[in-house]
Symmetry: C2
């Protein structure tokens, strides 16, 4: 188990999880790696190999119990208990994230929202009162928040990241194009919509 898990494997787990949740809703009790492959576009052999990194969850000749596999993947990803999120930035992007139902579905709760602007502090976004970013440290500690999302203007990104790290957040999602720096021990994920657009665009010029 202490083996090194290739990043690609971890990235595919949410894919399998989504299919499991979907299939459970459809009333399927078992699912084969072939069916999972169909639904995800991933090679069935790879799915079996991916899962085998973490244990043996299926039964030969039968397949995987959907409910079972769901729980296993959730446990592996650490989704078996809720995670509280601190959202920094209450503008359009922040509001969009706060209202995003997909978070709740996986047990995430946006439990505090921060902003710098006088106008926004005190207003309500997604059912929460926006706090001033100066209260971040105290609130994050008190509510044992482990995940931070940066949705502020680029210029403020690094400062916000620093505050989050100081407050003890362990995972940061950065929606800013800025390459923020965090110490090791903190997991940083960057999501830059433009960067994705740029490399996708390459195929526009060639595939013609």
């Amino acid at each position: 188990m202490a083996k090194h898990i290739p990043p690609g494997v971890v990235e595919r787990l949410p894919l399998y999880l989504d299919v499991c949740l979907h299939m459970a809703q459809e009333g399927c009790r078992t699912v084969s790696s072939a069916a999972l492959g169909q639904a995800t576009g991933v090679n069935p052999a790879q799915i079996r190999r991916d899962l085998s990194y973490f244990g043996s969850f299926g039964r030969r000749g039968v397949g995987y119990q959907v409910a079972d596999l769901t729980l296993h993947i959730q446990r592996i990803l650490g989704l078996d208990h809720g995670h509280r999120i601190a959202l920094v930035g209450a503008g359009n992007l922040g509001s969009a994230i706060a209202g995003y139902s997909g978070l709740r579905k996986h047990g995430f709760v946006v439990s505090a929202i921060f902003d710098k602007s006088r106008q926004r502090v005190g207003s309500k976004v997604g059912g929460l009162v926006v706090q001033h970013v100066d209260e971040l440290g105290e609130t994050v500690a008190r509510q044992t928040i482990s995940v931070g999302i940066i949705a502020v203007p680029p210029a403020a990104a690094q400062e916000v990241a620093d505050r989050l790290v100081d407050a003890g957040v362990r995972v940061i999602l950065n929606y800013t194009p800025v390459a923020v720096v965090v110490g090791r021990g903190v997991r940083l994920h960057n999501t830059d919509p433009v960067r994705e657009l740029l490399h996708t665009l390459y195929y526009l010029s060639t595939r013609t």
Copy 2:
């Protein structure tokens, strides 16, 4: 040139481009693969190899001309001319995208915004009047828009994708967790913030 380019190579090009733009601002005239490696975290040998897929842009013993390399990468990615974007969905997420300066920096222009809601149609978002989604086909054709961004509620995602494809859009960015289906010939890129959070979370449970 007709060689097959590994996806990883294309995904790294925007990274190099960002560094080039940044260095140009700092007044640097030339940059070595070692310096690029420093700034991006990518192995210098890999950078040279990546670039060599497209040609020889550097000079031995000297390095790369920053201005030169910038233009080459922009040309490769198809950024040497502007791209018009149709943004579908004028809610919080749509508004955030419309106001995002990073698009403009790379020559993208959001040139039309669509929504379904009576309340939003006719209002202004990012300096543009929101049009009803029924006008999408005509507007996209008239303005020769090649890129579509889906920022609507999940339930409407597939329908919007169909409309965009019918209208002749070649690249679609999908900000919905729905796995929309498009015909081949259309490049689809999915960005699901939750999925990214899920796999990032894995490292929270282990790295402790």
